[in-house]
């Protein structure tokens, strides 16, 4: 694993850029633990001050320091993304592996349900959830709901890996040589499944954070916990753009874009590294 990381850092530009971006974001999130201001309170500092030496990224119309607010926002947004990613990985793994390995009618039924969740537009459903839950909609609850809705695409990917593994010769060899199923799964198959899980995690995080930001901007989430979308929401409420308080929106947007692009680059470069055909292309083995 470490060798892979070292190779990627050394030779893959996309991975390097992605790593740098994600590192910046993580540092910001980590700084939230040493923030001099508590996250939920308002009117702690003079409002509407542009970026300056005293307030690095300026202050908001609600009297909050943009920089420190941002650290909490990105921390909450990231933890949200991770929560959704972990929960939906579990579901995606169970469904994908079960469908791939079992085959037959189990596979067909699972895939029909799976495709249903791919087709159904999730945004209106989420809005409906918000509509009926209103103030009881908390961030963890939203994370759970999204995890239960967003596993379908990745489950399909995992299933195709399982399908190809099932029919590979080395699986038959392992069975014939007396390996227990548990051993086969853990030692032979896991190295193939893990990379897919990893790269889909990045994409899943992008997806869930994107939706969270969008919902928050509309005011459809718990707007008292600071998140990136929440910051933009409040900025819109105070018509920050029109009032010229551009830093209130610009910096959250910049940071979240960094997150998206960084995670995406990581996912793409890992994927490319894993796929031997794309490696051949990089070696100059094509036109």
């Amino acid at each position: 694993m470490l060798v892979i990381l070292r190779d990627l850092i050394r030779y893959n530009l996309e991975f390097r850029i992605g790593l740098v971006l994600v590192a910046i974001v993580l540092v910001m999130a980590g700084l939230s633990f040493v923030s001099p201001y508590p996250p939920g309170e308002v009117y702690l500092v003079p409002p509407d001050i542009p970026p300056s030496a005293a307030y690095w990224l300026g202050t908001t119309s609600r009297g909050q320091d943009v920089f420190w607010q941002l650290t909490f926002a990105i921390r909450n947004t990231l933890s949200f993304g991770i929560m959704v990613a972990v929960l939906s990985r579990l579901i995606a793994l169970v469904v994908g592996l079960l469908a791939g390995y079992s085959g037959g009618w189990i596979d067909r039924v699972l895939m029909s349900i799976n495709d249903t969740f791919i087709i159904i537009p999730l945004f209106p459903i989420l809005i409906l959830f918000y509509f009926v839950l209103r103030d009881t909609m908390s961030t963890p609850l939203l994370a759970m709901i999204m995890a239960c809705l967003g596993w379908a695409y990745d489950a399909r990917l995992i299933r195709s890996v399982a399908l190809s593994l099932k029919t590979r010769e080395f699986t038959q060899t392992s069975i014939f040589s007396g390996m227990k199923t548990r051993e086969i799964l853990a030692r032979e198959h896991l190295p193939y499944v893990l990379p897919i899980v990893f790269s889909t995690t990045m994409n899943n995080m992008n997806w869930s954070i994107g939706i969270e930001v969008t919902l928050a901007v509309l005011g459809f989430t718990d707007i008292n916990t600071p998140t990136i979308g929440g910051m933009i929401y409040w900025a819109n409420q105070h018509t920050a753009l029109v009032a010229g308080i551009w830093w209130w929106i610009a910096f959250p947007v910049a940071l979240v874009v960094m997150t998206f692009v960084g995670l995406f680059l990581l996912a793409v470069s890992m994927n490319e590294y894993i796929d031997p055909r794309s490696r051949l292309a990089r070696m100059g083995g094509s036109r």
């Binding site: 190779d7 050394r10 030779y11 490696r279 990089r282 070696m283 100059g284 083995g285 094509s286 036109r287």
Partner: protein
Amino acid sequence: MSSSDQLPVLQVRDLQAHFRTRYFGVNREVRAVDGVSFDVRGNEIYGLAGESSSGKTTLIKTIAGLLKPPLEMVGGSARFAFLPEWDAIGRAPPEVVRRIRWRHLSYIMQGSMNVLNPLRRVRHSFRDFAWRHLGGSKSEFDTRAAAHLERVRLDPSVLAAYPHELSGGMRQRVTIALATICKPEFIIADEPTTALDVVVQKEVLGMLRAIQREMGSSVLFITHDMGVHAALTDRLGIMYAGRLVEDGETPEIFARPLHPYTRHLIASLPRIGDVEQREGLEGTPPNLAAPPPGCRFHPRCPLAMPVCATTVPAMVETLPGHRVACHAINPGAAA
């Protein structure tokens, strides 16, 4: 066996082709074809035998001018009689090459399961490949294609099918029909029957031989299956680790194999009534990025001598029409 006495259709002299790669900071040069010379005459089937990493496929890719990075032709020549001005297809300009492709030189690929465009009917593939050479209107061409299929005993209705609707053996026969519709002088067949079961294999080989006899073309036939060579080819060349070690008329090679490697290949063929134990060769084929000096077979050769590790043996005509490159057989002959 009627081989023409005129100029050979293909003359390969000292051909060299290497794979050059640079990835993650590691440079590698694999000497896949390292000085091969042989002739293919008109109206004959020349077989090329050898194990998996012997360089057979790379050799024919180089001969056919199918060179894409990292594969590069580094030296030597492979001259076709129908393209005398150029000493290798890989060195001719694209317009010239386009003219001869399929019309004078065609190709039957390894694992022909997937060589036809899966989303188009067979007749579209025929049109794509051959119409520009044969001309005529679309319907005239379609009629010609149907006639050609009948002549090789295929049902012309195959033209209306999609590739996935045909069985593996059927697809292979369609590919042979496709490769021969322009009556090319030279056909390269790269392991065409490897993925087929024995019964279908027999049909396909029979079809190939019948077409070859009728058109008088030359076929360069690659397979590691010595049994197929015995049944099909007129002359045979044995490759090992990127070099040609022996060649001659097929019955002669089977009756009197000279090179130790050839002897091993032929001895490993099962024969009815033979209950002797077979012995495998020691060792493994060499790493072509860092091949052994001198004769590449010497680490595994039962007849190895000190000179074998230093000097590359030359290909010498030891018996009439039978060449071999081996210090034990031809002492003092250096390349």
